[in-house]
Symmetry: C2
């Protein structure tokens, strides 16, 4: 799609956007504020702009007077970019350009890190745990009448340099008939040993040459959603992908209620049954979509948190939620997918990502492995933010992890107008530093219904940086704007007046909301700090951040650093891997390297129970400020705030 | 039981027998001939003897005149030894003592070789493939909350020096509950790795200390009979033993008809089902007898011939009976007993003895391993005689094997009055060298019904050595006895007149019977000769013979050498191991050494298909004489015959 340059005056900032993008989204991208309250439906009429050069499509509504339209005014939320355009924003005369450009930092999300198959190939590591080999044997005769299996194994040794082979009983059963029915030409499916001195197991045999048809499934068992991908193990290509809500949701929304259900008579079996039902549904979809032969699916690589993993495997999870929080196992052996009721075929092998602790599970290990963090020199912070946040810090030499209960603030919980990231959620925010009028963006560009996690982070960061809230999360009560008010003794900022919302109420951000957000970000930051301190390092040494989980892709990085959710590092050093669990499962389907390394990684990764780490509480208290008691830890923010103070 | 000495006159031979033994059995043992035709029922009245010193019990019948009884005569078959006794046998006056003592060689069967557990223990090899270990773990606390499996594995590594451990999924499932329910004390069942660098798999976990309860099953799947033993793996003791006819008998008596049945639709599944039915019946019996908990049975070690093994495992056997006679596999991996429908428990492991070829199967390998032949310096001939005879020659450095179709002569087939070794079968035989009157012994000491294999060997050996038949298996027609006669142009020797048989017919040995026997023994001897020649050795180098199979214990060794079934060696160097298949399975249940060695042994054991070995036919033809064309191969026999010729 062609890119057009949008230049904003008087700021003199330019940005390139795709044709069809709205002017207001271009402004967001450029870090330019336009008052806008209604989410983009042209309802508030506040986002008036003047087109000075070039043209735009649309931009009219009954909130824009005809004479203004004739002069070249448009509503920024409705005007679409079609060519290079220069746009003037009406601003207070008192505001000069330098102030304008301090308004906000440009929106910047993390670079998406895709699985790096090319370097795998270059390193010669593109070796799936399960390979197919075509063999063409010399038929037996009176002189050489060794058993079929011996004939096969000798051929593999001598012609293909394959050693330490073992055949399963089902393969031995199929072999005599398949050899004789196919001119002594068959294809073997071999599970590679993890250790060099281990056995290579021939788990299936098929007629003729089937080497071009070797598939694996990567599966993420999330508490809420289950995703599966069907991977071509010859090319690395994802042939089909599907997801579905985890059928266990009916038995409890979070892991703790699921564990409680599992403790009831028959509960564990029921939860196993329903999750397997969801998984088999996902498998049916991706097999149908990709049109592969079920017989050709050799592996299913599964990642999930500790509770999801234990429930799936019917391993009682009761000790996960009871002090001292002991999971059943770290490593699970490979086993037949059929043995846990996975509906693939009789030989597909299930490979389970290991767990570290009750609250740092296979989903996190998958992310750490799939992202390559464990092989990188740089000190990296891996962060999966949700109600429970999992943190891993370390590099190729060491890894430490922990989990903390961030609370549901990032998912909209405990926030008066909080909501999940769905249509109508305010996902981005900017503020006029003089009038304190906001520019809001909603998912779907509709009138606002509430505030989602990434919107909340941005909103608080902006309000803090603009001095609307102080570092203890209290509103400045002397700003002379009716948007800041007290209601029932609770101070709040009106994000959107009820006239422009979908809910016929003002959408506000309250001081208790701020408290909850600060506790959430404080828990995460102090968790990370504590981990580093335990190994004698400090937060400013973090060179790189990897964000995982759905939430991570929407976070405005600089804003997250402003509130002290993330340590302040170069945003170029922050990457987003999306569903790290699924990505790790996919990577692990394609390279035996991960299976080889994972035992050492899980052994090496030190888990800290924060409740048992004395310094955690001190760090937590220090993190209960915006961004932190020690502003020195955030030098860029400090510089911006000092610059603004000088104005 | 107290032993009594019986001295026979005029021979002046003495022998020690248990009190209660009959005089005629004592004579057999001493190598003293007494005419006796009726099998010991006192019917023929021929076995009159005179008690000269000491006394006997019984010995009377209506065939013994009262006046003779008064003089001290008794019937040898009915007279029982109670004390030291001297017995005179009425003999032809022309016969002097030296001739008498050439009559027969004393009866001598092979020494029974029992499994040698003591030397296993001395060598430190009494290590069953599956062991139980008791562990008592430190419970987790807030500081040490590693996962249950990790806690267990660390304990095993640090406290018990156990490494390379892997737990099965079912063990992981059971572990958390069992640990917490039993004060953190459990017993593990560990399958030891075969290779030193292999994995030790924890296959079961039980509450508390169950180390004293570790059992294995040794199972022999014979074509006719299935035997099982329940072995205490802690002591080596056999706690229970049971056998039953293989349920497959209804589908064919021999392996070939079973294979043909298996080729019919559903046939293989049916044969699997019925043999598993028999096995499970045997298991029920030995478990009930021994009163062990089924849960404590850790292994089932199974030996059977190649066809029995493949039918049991549902591996199609059709190629076994078709040139070039290719079995499916040599080695089978260990697998869950449950997976082949064995009714033990969910964790017992089935270990299958490997096959060498279509006709040298796991039963023979079990015998070779169990007897320790593969670890012995001496050049040994291992022989399992049946319709199909399996031969192994070699020592600790090399092994060669073959199978030959001996035909059913040794089991009574193709012999006019042949029968299996059952009540009424003539099992031993002696001949008066002047009158050609026989002394016969039957199983159960009843009137004769027929001749069993060991009786046939002895009979032919004695008749040959006494010059009644020549080295081509033809009767000497000029001996002037009515026992040698022609009927329908077929010459025969009357072993028992119809008056004393159970069948109201004369029991005879015919020249066609002799032909069949010579073909049978010739096939075996020439098979062994051919094997040795192929490795550059000769029969006279054989230092030791191991006989396996039910038949072997009854063979009179010197007689078997006389007819050329066995090479002529010191009878002290012949041992009998009984059911070698069952013995090997038992030994293998008790020492991991066999599992460790067996891969090399099966790889090293060279199989010869006699039909493909050109020299076999020449050797076979040379062996179609009694004992062989080259009498020089049998120096003791040659000396006896020359001594007799001088008389």
């Amino acid at each position: 799609m062609s890119k057009c340059t949008v230049t904003f005056l008087p700021h003199q900032r330019s940005t390139a956007v795709s044709a069809g993008e709205s002017i207001i989204r271009a402004a967001l991208q450029a870090g330019v504020h336009i008052n806008a309250s209604c989410g983009g439906e042209g309802v508030c009429g506040k986002c008036r702009i003047l087109i000075e050069a070039g043209a735009v499509d649309d931009g009219f509504s009954d909130r824009l007077a005809e004479e203004d339209a004739a002069k070249g005014y448009r509503l920024a939320c409705l005007a679409k970019v079609t060519e290079n355009v220069t746009v003037r924003i009406p601003v207070e005369s008192a505001m000069d350009k330098s102030v304008m450009n301090l308004q906000v930092t440009p929106r910047r999300t993390a670079t998406i890190q895709h699985p790096d198959f090319e370097s795998l190939k270059e390193e010669g590591l593109f070796i799936p745990p399960v390979e197919k080999l075509f063999v063409s044997l010399t038929p037996p005769d009176a002189v050489n009448n060794m058993p079929d299996v011996t004939r096969l194994v000798e051929h593999l040794k001598q012609e293909l340099n394959e050693h330490k082979l073992e055949l399963t009983l089902p393969v031995i059963k199929k072999l005599p008939g398949l050899l004789r029915g196919n001119d002594w030409q068959v294809t073997l499916t071999i599970i590679r040993a993890v250790r060099d001195d281990g056995k290579n197991v021939i788990q299936n045999v098929q007629a003729g040459d089937r080497t071009a048809h070797n598939y694996g499934v990567a599966l993420d068992i999330g508490t809420t959603t289950i995703y599966g991908q069907l991977i071509d193990l010859a090319t690395g290509e994802c042939m089909a992908e599907a997801g579905d809500f985890n059928g266990q949701i009916s038995y409890g929304e979070d892991v703790i209620t699921r564990i409680m259900y599992a403790e009831k008579p028959g509960g564990l079996d029921k939860l196993h049954e329903v999750v397997v039902g969801t998984i088999n549904g996902v498998l049916r979809k991706i097999i149908a979509q990709s049109k592969v032969d079920r017989e050709d699916v050799s592996t299913i690589t599964i990642a999930g948190n500790t509770t999801m993993t234990q429930l799936f495997l019917q391993v009682e999870p009761r000790n996960i939620r009871r002090s001292p929080y002991v999971p059943a196992a770290t490593l699970y052996p490979p086993f037949s997918a059929e043995s846990v009721d996975i509906d693939l075929n009789d030989h597909a092998i299930a490979l389970i990502f290991p767990q570290i602790s009750s609250f740092v599970g296979g989903d996190i290990v998958a992310g750490v492995m799939g992202s390559g963090m464990y092989r990188d020199e740089r000190l990296t912070l891996f962060l999966d933010i949700g109600t429970n946040a999992e943190l891993v810090v370390g590099n190729k030499d060491w890894l430490a992890c922990t989990a903390c209960s961030a609370g549901p603030a990032f998912e909209g919980g405990g926030i008066e107008f909080g909501m999940r990231a769905a249509k109508g959620a305010i996902e981005d925010f900017s503020l006029d530093p003089l009038t304190y009028e906001p520019m809001i963006f909603t998912i779907g560009d509709v009138r606002p219904k509430g505030i989602c996690g990434s919107g909340l982070i941005t909103m608080v960061a902006v309000l803090f940086e603009m001095g609307v809230i102080n570092n203890r999360g209290k509103f400045n009560r002397d700003l002379g704007t009716d948007r800041i008010r007290s209601r029932n003794d609770i101070w709040e900022y009106v994000v959107a007046w009820k006239e422009v919302t979908q809910i016929d109420r003002d959408i506000v951000l309250t001081e208790p909301d701020l408290d909850n957000l600060i506790r959430a970000k404080g828990a995460i930051y102090s968790g990370c700090m504590t981990l580093l301190e335990e190994v004698g390092l400090t937060m400013d040494m973090v060179e790189r951040i990897i964000l995982a989980g759905g939430f991570g892709s929407y976070i405005d990085l600089e804003k997250a650093m402003t509130i002290g959710l993330l340590p302040e590092i170069d945003p170029d050093c922050v990457t987003f891997i999306g569903n790290g669990s699924l990505m790790g499962a996919k990577m692990s389907s394609l390279t035996n390297r991960i299976r080889k390394d994972i035992v050492a990684v899980t052994r090496q990764m030190t888990n800290f129970e924060l409740s048992e780490t004395p310094s955690y509480m001190d760090n937590y208290i220090a993190a209960m400020f915006l961004p932190h008691t020690e502003i020195e830890k955030f030098p860029r923010l400090k510089a911006r705030m000092e610059a603004r103070a000088r104005k």
